[in-house]
Point group: C3
Chain length 155, copies 3
């Protein structure tokens, strides 16, 4: 698994790994799975990307926010595991989109995160199962919250 070397070669900037905003831990290992808490889109200066899609921000901004959630998840993984090398693959992405009640393009939004994971882990290991759903509201009025499960390699 040379995921971390590949990650470094992409020269991606990561936001700071967020401190929990409640009584939970950002990730937890269970057997060979890493459960990741719901993450919000943290900007490079540590602030949050805010706004409801279809009301405050548009689809493209929403997709960028989902990518930023993905980068924030990577920051949590690296901060806790030291690197991405022990990550074998993406198992699951659960994408929650804060949008108006007539919004229909949740998969397009969450692709912002999924396409990032493919950049990092490749198509073989970067694509897992997924649900993309429109929620009623999200913490701090962020446009996207994503939780995920990753598999660790055995070694």
């Amino acid at each position: 698994m040379q995921h971390h070397n590949h990650f470094l070669s992409l020269n991606l900037q990561l936001p700071p790994a967020p401190e929990p905003k409640g009584v939970y831990t950002p990730l937890l290992q269970v057997g060979n799975l890493i459960y990741v808490s719901g993450h919000l889109p943290v900007n490079y200066d540590g602030t949050l990307h805010r706004g409801k899609i279809g009301q405050d921000i548009d689809q493209e901004a929403g997709k960028l926010a989902a990518r930023q959630v993905g980068l924030t998840i990577l920051s949590t993984l690296i901060s806790n595991l030291g690197s991405l090398d022990r990550i074998k693959r993406v198992i699951k992405v659960f994408g929650m989109v804060n949008a108006t009640t007539d919004f229909e393009k949740q998969p397009y939004i969450i692709n912002g995160c999924s396409e990032l994971f493919v950049e990092i882990f490749g198509r073989e290991f970067g694509i897992g199962v997924r649900s993309a759903v429109g929620v009623g509201s999200l913490p701090e009025k962020v446009p996207v919250e994503i939780e995920a499960i990753f598999e660790l390699s055995e070694d």
Copy 2:
């Protein structure tokens, strides 16, 4: 496990297994579990069942849509695994209902899927844990999206 023979004896019509509408895979095996992506209600002609419950369609149409999501999940399972024989049991159903904000009967809606799983797998193996929740919006304005986990038999 004669689940597939029993399934065939029921003469149920299945919709076509849907192609992913984003960067994800319809199902993924992790150990002896099958994680299934969020599925939408696909009609027999490949179109989607649309409408928000309490606004565009009523409860009965919503419950039928949940059953159709269940049939679509079965189609994905059979398309990827060849048959239902390796499925041991339902572990989890997460049912997301696209309804007006005053809707209170999400469990009734999701029973449309759960009752189908009992028809196929019986009460011993067809009933797992479940959450039924009302979401703000769903892809393509479908009334129901469901994700699931199944257990595979050891052999």
Copy 3:
């Protein structure tokens, strides 16, 4: 694991373990994990705590409802497992908050459940991963629904 003795020493009152309101089981063991269905806030007399946060009830009532969901989950665990002694730790909490679309304090609400789990299991074993999200609607118009995963000890 002296979780049950500690639980008894706290003299907490538990609501009755709820009967399923649909075709599902309240919990299911998969390997050494206990999957718990979405639970609602059951009062000590068996009725449900009702109301949408920001419309019918305020934040403090919502947080108390989340604590009541936690007590209801404990009631289900004890009713099905006999005690809390076989529970090793909290793995995951998924908290769904029924609030107005401009609500931003979902983590504060779900802390009502998470803080209870820390009282029972301590900080080492009571804190898992978590998502806190605002949904569009919930069964019986309850303010909070929570599903969870616990790990069993090996013995």
